[in-house]
């Protein structure tokens, strides 16, 4: 029905203009909620990037016997490097280990003074594609037949900071749960608020709705313009949220990325991901508007 589509849109737009206060109420409600959600999404994204970065530093150290034969060492490396879970295997010679030790302990000269010769072993450092496979991989290394010929004591000399790793995963999970929970709560809050706003808007026009019914308008004829209006308001709210978040982003990104206080977690910011986030916000706005008015209408437009 071509005429009706025209009628509905015209009607929705007219109502929007006529009931300026009501409409702007709904729009600001959507916009504010989406701004908060967007900000939290952004922070969660940054936090996730940060955690990924930390996780990517998880490594397995295999300390080698001083007297392990060179051929066996090479064989071990060739085996491990071919596993699908493994990203990279580095060999650290005794000399390099000592250099690193000296750097690490440069503040404790009394320890270094007492160092005789080079007591440090050579080692492999194994990085994984997915840090969560670290325990499985360690087990697999220990099961290798070759391992006993290269490592003195396979229970002590294969290390991956087990305590540190499990604690990190626990934090990661806690933080994701908390962030997800807050975002869900806020989506719920905004949905309730928008339903409320639209319900109020409909409530304010309940007399008009009654009149329409008396003149013979069918329920859908009355409902559709309200739905359209909700969608318009949601979309407008989403657009405003995007605009404001964009401005905030432009204003603060320099101080976040280049500034002092977060410099220790320099995170690569993906422009594409940011764009996707904005698109998600706009769509959420539209969805919220549609769902909100649908809920509001259900209550008030019984015959």
């Amino acid at each position: 029905m071509k005429i009706n589509a025209v009628y509905y849109s015209k009607e929705a737009l007219t109502n929007f203009r006529k009931n300026w206060v009501l409409s702007m109420g709904a729009v600001t409600a959507v916009a504010l909620c989406l701004i908060v959600i967007g900000a939290i999404m952004f922070i969660a994204y940054m936090g996730n990037q940060f955690i990924n970065k930390v996780e990517s530093q998880i490594e397995i150290e295999i300390f080698l016997k001083d007297n392990a034969p060179y051929g066996q060492i090479e064989a071990l490396q060739n085996q491990i490097v071919n596993w699908s879970a493994v990203k990279k295997v580095n060999y650290v010679s005794k000399e390099n280990a000592l250099k690193k030790f000296k750097i690490d302990f440069k503040d404790n000269p009394e320890v270094l003074q007492n160092l005789q010769g080079n007591p440090l072993p050579s080692s492999f450092r194994v990085w994984l594609k997915n840090p969560r496979t670290v325990e499985a991989t360690v087990k697999r290394i220990k099961r290798l037949s070759i391992i006993d010929q290269v490592v003195a004591d396979k229970n002590n000399d294969i290390k991956y900071g087990s305590q540190y790793v499990s604690k990190l995963f626990v934090i990661t999970r806690g933080v994701s749960i908390a962030a997800g929970g807050i975002v869900l709560l806020l989506i719920f809050v905004s949905l309730v608020l928008i339903t409320n706003t639209i319900r109020l808007a409909i409530f304010a026009r309940r007399k008009e709705i009654g009149i329409m019914k008396l003149v013979g308008a069918s329920n859908w004829f009355i409902r559709v313009p309200f739905l359209f209006e909700g969608v318009i308001e949601g979309a407008l709210g989403g657009a405003i949220a995007i605009l404001i978040l964009g401005i905030i982003y432009r204003a603060t990104i320099k101080s976040i990325m280049g500034g002092k206080w977060l410099v220790f977690m320099r995170i690569p910011l993906d422009q594409g991901a940011f764009m996707v986030m904005l698109l998600v916000l706009l769509l959420s706005g539209i969805l919220i508007g549609a769902i909100g008015s649908a809920i509001a209408l259900r209550r008030f437009l019984k015959v």
């Binding site: 019914k213 003149v215 013979g216 308008a217």
Partner: protein
């Protein structure tokens, strides 16, 4: 056209608004519904529009039991009934044109038809220069005339009018009555609730008189009655 069978309506007050009303109105009739304030005239009309349901009894319009009507069919009933409401019931955010046009939009008339018919009907009630005024910008009588125009713009087979001349001066009232008469002659059934003694007396149509919710008189070619 209209058949009421032992209809009562009780709002829950001291006494019912209508008690055991049985009335038949044939197609093409012109009927005045008279009675003192609070006697149940508006209630009678609201029952026919299925705005409210009777507490007892059955109501048939064009042979259809409107009590048993499925809720999604109600709009279609109402599209066949033009109604002038006592309190006008105009949409405040539509102009006079928009309010009348709405009755046509609802039944899916084309924009061309709307653009043609609405100004014509508003001219008939003498509002050709108020097309773009909102109800808040119209005088009481002007609002009433918009309401009248809306009621018969889509030529419904049944026209109900609650106090259509309450806010009109005698000259305009006469014009409106002439209009109703003309509409009636084209076959439309008309039911008018009114206090306008002059009008009723001069028209000599069928008069149904209510009092305290009872039909006390049903007279062909009747007068307003109720001598003071």
């Amino acid at each position: 056209m209209i058949r009421l069978k032992h209809v009562s309506k009780d709002y829950g007050g001291d006494r019912p608004a209508l008690t055991d009303i049985s009335v038949n109105i044939a197609k093409g009739e012109f009927v005045f519904l008279v009675g003192p304030s609070g006697s149940g005239k508006s209630t009678f009309i609201r029952l026919l529009l299925r705005e409210i349901l009777p507490t007892q009894g059955d109501i048939y319009i064009s042979g259809q039991d409107i009590k048993a009507l499925r809720s999604w069919k109600i709009p279609f009933l109402r599209r066949n009934i033009g109604c002038v409401f006592q309190d006008f019931k105009l949409l405040p955010n539509k102009t006079a044109f928009g309010n009348v046009a709405f009755a046509l939009e609802v039944i899916g008339r084309s924009r061309y038809m709307i653009k043609k018919q609405v100004p014509e009907v508003l001219r008939l009630v003498g509002l050709e220069d108020k097309l773009d005024s909102y109800p808040g910008e119209l005088s009481g009588g002007e609002q009433q005339r918009v309401s009248i125009a809306r009621a018969f713009v889509n030529r419904p087979p049944l026209l109900l009018a609650d106090e259509p001349t309450g806010n009109l001066d005698p000259a305009t009232s006469l014009g409106v009555m002439t209009l109703f008469n003309r509409i009636n002659r084209s076959g439309t059934t008309i039911l008018i609730a009114t206090h306008d003694r002059e009008m009723v007396d001069s028209m000599r149509k069928r008069v149904i008189a209510l009092e305290n919710g009872n039909v006390v008189r049903d007279q062909l070619r009747g007068v307003y009655g109720y001598e003071d």
